[in-house]
Symmetry: C2
Subunit: 393 residues, 2 copies
């Protein structure tokens, strides 16, 4: 496949979902030269699920792939054990190798929802990092100064707050940098929180006789609760979420995230995204745009059919306030609601069930339950929160 | 050999040439228990010569050895390459492995001037450090905080002065600490500048299932120019210095170092050392005491015979202002003094020779030379500085 050097496409590659490019002029020239570039992204399997935050650099890889470049995807099976704290307010524990191994079982399959895995190079960084000796590591460490490390915002903040920073954390950037050496990356893609780690590659490559990679940094996007989307905070929308759940989660985001989600998480043409932004700023109904967004995202990770059904479900339950057709049932005639909630595993314990009821989160046949001992009747519909329904059989 | 538990000897072991002991109470109990302790000292072969500064911990090892304990001497062939900067105002370069290998050729022989090498364990730390993998190193790094590292005086000073501290330097204490793990040290001996490195062993050993070592720290002693004795500054008295040179160097130290040198660099009984201190403070002639000191030190590294001859030489040259009998000769009749200095390799170049002359450092037959072109005559004695003499043949 020949390399696409269309200026408009290169412009979008360098701007859509991009916060900063180093060195932008150099990378632009490289892209226009028609040379086939090696474009690297590494992800540590610190959780079994990839979330939409990860899709931003992955979609960028796909953009490169569509222009004919070589995608180099690195599974951080080694770095995952060590643990990166670039985006953290505190240390993260070292993971057991077997947890990482378990987590990465379906990683390639998940990544394959965005990039063409067959055309990409897939590497596990234990391949080379596992072979390095103490002297190699010291030689690499020699090229970085302590001052640059402690000048990083998150490290400086933690040091001045008296929060522990372990010496282990210092080794992480060296590892990520060495990944770029080992794979001869021309470009690395990563989040703005990875700035130091990404620059490490630029420092190390020339020492090993290679050219310094260019860097494309993507912004970090907010999750369903408005904080940065992160597995640590349970506010993620995951590649593996079921269609209905994924649709519902997208519908729950704040209205001011709609345009951002369209730009970063989808490849709806930017002209259309700008149209959506315009409609919203001139009084358009955010719910309609959000519905399009949710439909598009479910399409990307499942199918159009799944997206259609999830949308119908959402409309029937939330928009029309109807209950879904296919709710699960529970055999619980005559039992008290508190026992039913526990038996059906809706609550984890009796006290959890009581708390749900006290907070007004449980309804029987559209009436909020106030007494935890209320008995349930055959045919009643128990509702928890906005979206969970169960029939008493 | 059974263990000596004499209280007076234990007291001297814990106090003579000692600045701090951690944990003193624990170590005292260990020594009194009659248990055979493993006492570790590591020295990096960053220079081919050991100097008297190194003799302070080595004499401490000998004290332990005389009480029946096991000396564990570590040749830092691995750590020497990485380089410790605990006592430095700046980074030190990584050494080539072959330089370290060359330096350590006569190390054991030199160490053998103080300790009984046949009764000691000798280890090269490349044996274990060379086998560690990245994950081992990260696991160990995890046990140290960045805050403790940058709180060290020399690191804090360098950081605030904007002097580069490399990440490599952070790895050094881990290595020294792991040496204690690998050798199951009960006690480690080292300079006060090594505090952080010595404590690293205490942190790491329990993690690997061992007991935390006790630590004996010796003070750093000034060299011939009054600054801390260090190979980097050329102010050392080396184990391998020739008797006359060694004697002369000791005679050149400041008077207020005499008692310190007796306490730290010799094993003249402390009662005698206190007597010397008393004589000096009540108007005794420092030259006489210094002569005893120089004689004792030459005895330790050479022989009584060598010490006697060096003393005679010193007295004849400096005290009685006589010239030595066995001076070298140079064939240079009729040449100018500047050319003779270069030909006899006393000066490295003509300009070096001119500078020596300008500074008044050259005499012919006891007259300071002022004119570089002064011709020399047969039978004249050329003198450079205080101690170098040469006859014109």
């Amino acid at each position: 496949m020949s390399i696409v050097t269309n200026k408009q496409k290169i412009h979008e590659l360098l701007t859509r979902g991009v916060d900063e490019v180093i060195d932008c002029e150099h990378l632009k020239k490289q892209l226009e030269s028609g040379k086939k570039l090696r474009v690297k992204l590494g992800i540590d399997p610190t959780s079994p699920h990839l979330h939409l935050g990860r899709s931003v650099p992955l979609l960028k890889l796909r953009d490169f792939q569509e222009l004919g470049h070589k995608v180099v995807f690195i599974v951080g099976d080694f770095t995952g054990v060590i643990g990166d704290t670039s985006d953290k307010e505190s240390e993260r524990p070292m993971l057991a190798a077997k947890v990482v191994k378990e987590n990465l079982k379906t990683y390639i399959q998940q990544v394959g929802k965005i990039i063409d895995v067959k055309k990409a190079e897939i590497h596990y960084n234990s391949t080379w990092l596992g072979k390095l000796k103490y002297t190699d590591i010291a030689e690499q460490a020699n090229m970085f100064s302590l001052a640059e490390f402690i000048a990083r915002d998150n490290i400086r903040n933690r040091l001045s707050a008296g929060t522990r920073v372990s010496l282990r954390e210092i080794l992480y950037p060296l590892m990520q940098g060495y990944d770029s050496v080992a794979t001869a990356a021309d470009v690395e893609v990563g989040g703005t929180d990875q700035r130091f780690n990404l620059l490490a590659g630029r420092s190390l490559q020339p020492h090993f006789g290679g050219a310094a990679q260019d860097i494309i940094m993507n912004p970090l996007v907010e999750g369903t609760d408005g904080r940065k989307m992160s597995s640590s905070w349970g506010n993620t929308i995951n590649f593996t979420d079921e269609p209905q759940d994924m649709f519902g989660k997208v519908m729950s985001i704040a209205d001011d995230l709609i345009v951002k989600y369209f730009e970063y998480f989808t490849r709806i043409p930017m002209a259309d995204v700008r149209g959506i932004a315009k409609r919203l700023s001139s009084g358009g109904n955010p719910r309609d745009e959000k519905m399009k967004l949710a439909h598009e995202i479910v399409c990307m990770y499942h199918s159009k059919k799944d997206a259609d059904r999830a949308q119908e479900h959402f409309i029937s339950v939330f928009s029309k306030k109807e209950k879904p057709d296919d709710m699960p049932s529970v055999k619980a005639v005559g039992k008290s609601i508190v026992d039913v909630l526990v038996a059906a595993k809706i609550a984890s314990s009796k006290s959890d069930a009581r708390r749900l009821i006290e907070q007004g989160g449980v309804q029987i046949d559209d009436v909020v339950v106030k007494d935890a001992e209320t008995p349930v009747k055959r045919g009643s519909v128990i509702q928890k929160g906005k979206r969970f329904f169960m029939k008493v059989a």
